[in-house]
Amino acid sequence: MRLGSYLLWAAVATATGILVLLGYFVQLDAIPPEGWLQSIFQLRLLLMRWAVLLAGVALFVGLIHLMAVHWSKVSDQARGWGYSAIFLLAFLATLILGLIFGPDSAAVLLFFNYIQMPVETTLSALLAITLALAGFRLLSRRPDLISAIFIGTAFLVLLGSGPGLIPGGSMLDSFFGGLRNWLAQVSAAGGARGILLGVALGSIMTGLRVLLAMDRPYGDE
């Protein structure tokens, strides 16, 4: 019975995947307005709409699950339960205000503008400091030629881009500006294209494995 249900899910996933994938190789205007091909194409659109709907439902399920995890931490008085309690209070307050006054109301925007936005902006600022420190740490952690080239290139690009580092209009400014452009547009772009080819091949093969039911992230019993 279990084997039967697994085969059914694999068949449904494979058939749906092939149908949606083939849609990317066929242009809409090439399909006759009537007939079975048009029906299949409409079925593909319907499946994609279902996917968007299901992703929305999954987000809701994920939030409920997240709330349940934090609720159990509070009730068990597990380590860090105070943060979980704050999370639950903020979650419920936002949810209730959103349900009563609507997502665009001043009450909900208050939470967004004065809590979420500042926190996310702070993290963005922290990112800049983190990267600068990571650059210094890199040389002590992996003291090799590649790390030296990485840091050296980053330094040269900073010299060529950072305002105020070199007097504007000077020969040095023009030299480092040109060097920065060459690094970004020639060497970095060439390397990135090579990496992207590998990433694209890896992505396609990962997709094909799921499509052919060799990988079954939707249950593998």
Binding site: Q27, H65, S124, L131, F150, L197, T206, L212, D215, Y218
Partner: protein
């Protein structure tokens, strides 16, 4: 036929045919791949974590299942299956987090399958895989307390990450965790190279299943990637030579 991308279909068909051929050949002739230091180090780090009663944290990134950047997270799920199987019998099994609800459900399914295969289904807890936050920075903001509360000593990032991936890796480094990180975005890979002790570059994020599980399908797909890479290189070289000769393609 007009409106049909025949070249795209031909390339896809070629990849499927090569996959089947390598699956058949793989039974007789095992492939040999280059060593990837991050995966070699990961095996030792997981063993140490299991022995020390510490936890493995696996992040599937902030991408969505229906997004175009789902591939690294799907590859991450294949790696997760093996890590979950290895850690299922430890005192503190692996914990998985993601920024997407649907991906959290897939992670729960992957964990349950791994526990079933390890004969430890009674130890499976759905709360081991969860969504931390729906936006990239809300997800990352939750990581420090999670790593601390769960006593994580191995911090694996395999999924879609933007700039927030650098912070996610750095939070692990600050706790002296073993940090392995890979994603599909080239700019984020550069950030992870600087912040993570064991970065995965390029397509290395997709090879976890082949390197850790030695699974036939994963090994065969890796050989297809290599074959297709050679075909692409030959095509690029041929195009360059023809361009030099003045042939307009």
């Amino acid at each position: 036929m007009m409106g049909l991308d025949l070249l795209g279909l031909a390339v896809l068909g070629l990849m499927i045919i090569l996959l089947m051929i390598y699956l058949a050949i793989g039974k007789r002739q095992a492939p040999i791949f280059r060593e990837i230091p991050a995966f070699e180090a990961l095996k030792g780090a997981i063993e140490r974590a299991v022995e020390a009663g510490e936890r493995v944290h696996f992040s599937l990134g902030t991408g969505s299942v229906i997004g175009t950047d789902v591939a690294p997270a799907l590859a991450g799920l294949a790696t997760l299956a093996e890590i979950a199987r290895v850690t299922s019998l430890s005192d503190r099994p692996a914990v998985v987090t993601t920024g997407d609800g649907a991906m959290a459900i897939l992670a729960q399914d992957t964990l349950r399958s791994a526990y079933t295969q390890a004969g430890a289904l009674d130890r499976y807890r759905p709360s081991a895989a969860r969504m931390l936050g729906p936006t990239p920075f809300s997800y990352v903001a939750s990581l420090p307390s999670l790593l601390s509360n769960e006593d994580a000593s191995v911090h694996i990032l395999m999924g879609a990450f933007g700039a927030e991936g650098a912070l996610a890796a750095d939070f692990g480094e600050r706790r002296n965790c073993f940090v392995m990180a890979g994603t599909d975005d080239v700019q984020s890979q550069a950030l992870l190279y600087a912040t993570a002790a064991h970065p995965l570059i390029g397509e290395e994020v997709f090879v976890g299943g082949a390197y850790l599980r030695r699974d036939k399908a994963h090994l065969a797909s890796l050989r297809v990637q290599d074959a297709m890479r050679f075909i692409l290189i030959l095509g690029i070289l041929l195009g360059a030579v023809l361009g030099l000769l003045g042939v307009d393609l």
